[in-house]
Structure formats: structure tokens, C-alpha cells
């Protein structure tokens, strides 16, 4: 039985679950490190609150707001990046005309 399974496994091309796990973890771990490490643990909360404010005006979700704290030497740079959804930009352009 074990031999048969090994042969079947050999020909089956589906990705192994361990490598799926590793890929998913590399993404999530990198993201969480960027948002939680570096001394400022208020960043996730800041991100949530910014999102709440923005959501009052536009349909924006978490992936449109990124908050990052970078350290270069003694200098800390807080980077806020808000990507406006396309229709928002389009509407603004329309209003301007």
C-alpha cells in the first residue's frame, strides 16, 4: 500500500501543503513585522483609525491604507500611504471639469 501511494504521489503534481504553508507564512510574517516592530506598537491602531475616517467619505478598505515606520540611524520616518480607489479619482476629475 505504501509503495503504491509513493508511486501515486510521485506522479501527482499538486503542490505539497508544507510549501503552501511556508509561502503563506512568509507573506504574513513580513507584513506583521513591518507593522508591529520598530518600537511603535500603535501603528495597527493608527491604521484602523485612519481607515475609519476615510471610510466616512469613500469606500476604502484595509488594503488601501499602509502605515510604515522606517528607521534610518536616529531618524524615524512615518510613512502613510493611502491608495484611492479608481472611481474616487475618476469622480474627483469629473468634479473638477
Amino acid at each position: 500500500m505504501a509503495l503504491f501511494e509513493s508511486v501515486v504521489d510521485y506522479f501527482r503534481r499538486t503542490p505539497k501543503t508544507a510549501s503552501i504553508a511556508k509561502d503563506r507564512l512568509s507573506v504574513i510574517v513580513a507584513r506583521e513585522r513591518a507593522s508591529t516592530r520598530g518600537g511603535a506598537d500603535y501603528l495597527p491602531q493608527l491604521q484602523q483609525e485612519l481607515l475609519a475616517v476615510l471610510a466616512k467619505y469613500e469606500n476604502i478598505d484595509l488594503q488601501h491604507v499602509s502605515v510604515k515606520l522606517d528607521k534610518t540611524g536616529d531618524c524615524e520616518v512615518l510613512e502613510l500611504n493611502i491608495t484611492l480607489p479608481e472611481q474616487f479619482v475618476a469622480k474627483k476629475a469629473h468634479a473638477a471639469v
Binding site: L25, S26, E32, R37
Partner: protein
């Protein structure tokens, strides 16, 4: 020179208490005067795993509140005289642990000549876990080769690097990784994250690998830490960890699948 060690993980159920019990027992077997402290206030369990649950009279919280002297709350192990336990309280009092009180107890334990003070952290990253790690000189992060455990371990490694007394004084603690419930056979089949995968993700040096084994349950059933019967693979693995922790070189084991006979392989 005493050393304060925290055994932590973030996620629950990965083997913190088992690890604390075995490492504390192992160090005591080597002759080091060792105390294991249960920081899981409200959910005391280290006493049960070490088999001294019926001898708990006073606990850690009693000492913190000044209701008992430290030396009366310390339980001396009946098997190894260099091993001591400080149990957690069973009553839930989340304000019981504060840095000042915990610091005082640890200082007193150092003055009593303990070589190793092993702090068994509760799961999570709340007050109890923060207090367990705050005074540590070294940390053992226990992790299973499983996604949620690895993610939580990463969070805890971040906290260890930032939220300890040493970190605040720019003297970072040494953090080690202990991978538990490891199954080389599943790793070989691509069903489980390998040691290398986890090391690459977490970036913390490996202290040891503990194989998945029914011995862990059998030992806790009896209240006898696995290291006390050194014939088992779990005991061997934990004893290796203890020796490494005490500064000796030991090659890593239990990472590769054991060689099996041709019949076992064909009909296993």
C-alpha cells in the same frame, strides 16, 4: 551567576509547560539549583506536570501580595533536591503580577543562590506573558511546525526584542527556538514545515527539536517529566537541549526520519 529564562510561545498548547518541566528537571539533574515559576495566574498547571500538585500550600501570588514568605511557597521536588517549583495561584487576579513585585521575587531567588530561574509563560501576549519575559536573560520560544504557531512565535520574538528589561537597557536577551511535536516522516512527505523552513521564517537560532511522541502525554499523566526516563526519544531530545543550554556542544538529532527496513517501508 543566576540566569533567568523565559519559556514562551504566544500560542497555547504548543508545549511550554512540558518544556519548562523537562528543562528545569534536566538542569536540576545536572546539579544546578533550579526553580520553575508558573506565571499562568488562574490556570496553574506546572505543578501537575511536575507531579507536586498536592504539595502546593502557598503560591506565587501569595508571595507577591506578602501573604507568604518566598521560602515557604517554594516546593522542593521529592525526586531531585536541586529542583524547586513556585506554583501559580488558582484564583484569577489579573492585577497580581506587576514588574515591581515580580522583580523583587526574582532578585530574592538570585540571592538564594539559584543557578536557573525558569519562567513558564502563559499563552497570549497579555500581562502574564509580558511579566514572564520582562526580567529574562534568555528566552526559549516553543513552536510547532504549524502555521498559527509560527506566526505567533514571530510576534513573541518581536516582543522579546522590545519589551524586556534588557531590551530597555540596550542589552538584548538571547532568544532560542525549540521546535516541538516534529515529525520527520511528515516533513519528508511535504506535509509539515521543516526545521529549515521554520528557521528561515523566524530567524532565531535553533536550540533543539523535540519529536512528536506519545511519551509526552504518558509523562504528564504520571506527573513525571520525560527526562527522568532517559531511554525515550523525547527524554534524549530534551536532555540534548539541556546540555546545549548549559553551553555544551550537541549535534541536532530527531530531524531526519529513522531508517526503516524494506518491509516496513513497503507495508508500513
Amino acid at each position: 551567576m543566576s540566569k533567568v529564562v523565559v519559556v514562551t510561545s504566544g500560542k497555547g498548547g504548543v508545549g511550554k509547560t512540558t518544556t519548562t518541566a523537562n528543562i528545569a528537571t534536566g538542569l536540576a539533574l545536572k546539579g544546578y539549583k533550579t526553580v520553575a515559576i508558573d506565571f499562568d495566574v488562574g490556570l496553574r498547571n506546572l505543578d501537575l506536570v511536575l507531579g507536586c500538585e498536592r504539595r502546593v500550600v502557598y503560591d506565587f501570588v501569595n508571595v507577591l501580595k506578602g501573604e507568604a514568605k518566598l521560602h515557604t511557597a517554594l516546593i522542593r521536588d521529592t525526586r531531585i533536591e536541586t529542583l524547586h517549583v513556585l506554583a501559580a495561584s488558582q484564583t484569577r487576579d489579573k492585577d497580581a503580577l506587576d514588574a515591581e513585585g515580580v522583580g523583587k521575587v526574582i532578585k530574592e531567588l538570585k540571592e538564594m543562590g539559584f543557578d536557573y530561574i525558569i519562567c513558564d509563560s502563559p499563552a497570549g501576549i497579555e500581562k502574564g506573558a509580558q511579566m514572564a519575559m520582562y526580567f529574562a536573560d534568555e528566552a526559549i520560544v516553543v513552536c510547532n511546525p504549524e502555521v498559527s504557531s509560527v506566526r505567533d512565535a514571530d510576534r513573541v520574538i518581536g516582543l522579546l526584542a522590545a519589551k524586556t528589561n534588557r531590551a530597555e537597557n540596550n542589552n538584548p536577551i538571547r532568544t532560542h527556538l525549540l521546535l516541538t511535536r516534529y515529525s520527520p516522516m511528515q516533513v519528508k512527505k511535504g506535509e509539515m514545515l521543516s526545521v529549515d523552513d521554520v528557521l528561515e521564517l523566524l530567524g532565531v537560532p535553533l536550540l533543539g527539536v523535540i519529536p512528536e511522541s506519545k511519551i509526552v502525554l504518558l509523562s504528564s499523566n504520571k506527573g513525571t517529566p520525560a527526562v527522568l526516563d532517559e531511554t525515550t526519544d523525547v527524554a534524549q531530545a530534551y536532555l540534548d537541549v539541556v546540555h546545549r543550554f548549559a553551553g555544551e556542544e550537541r549535534e541536532h538529532r530527531f530531524i531526519q526520519e529513522e531508517k526503516r527496513g524494506i518491509f516496513q517501508r513497503l507495508f508500513g
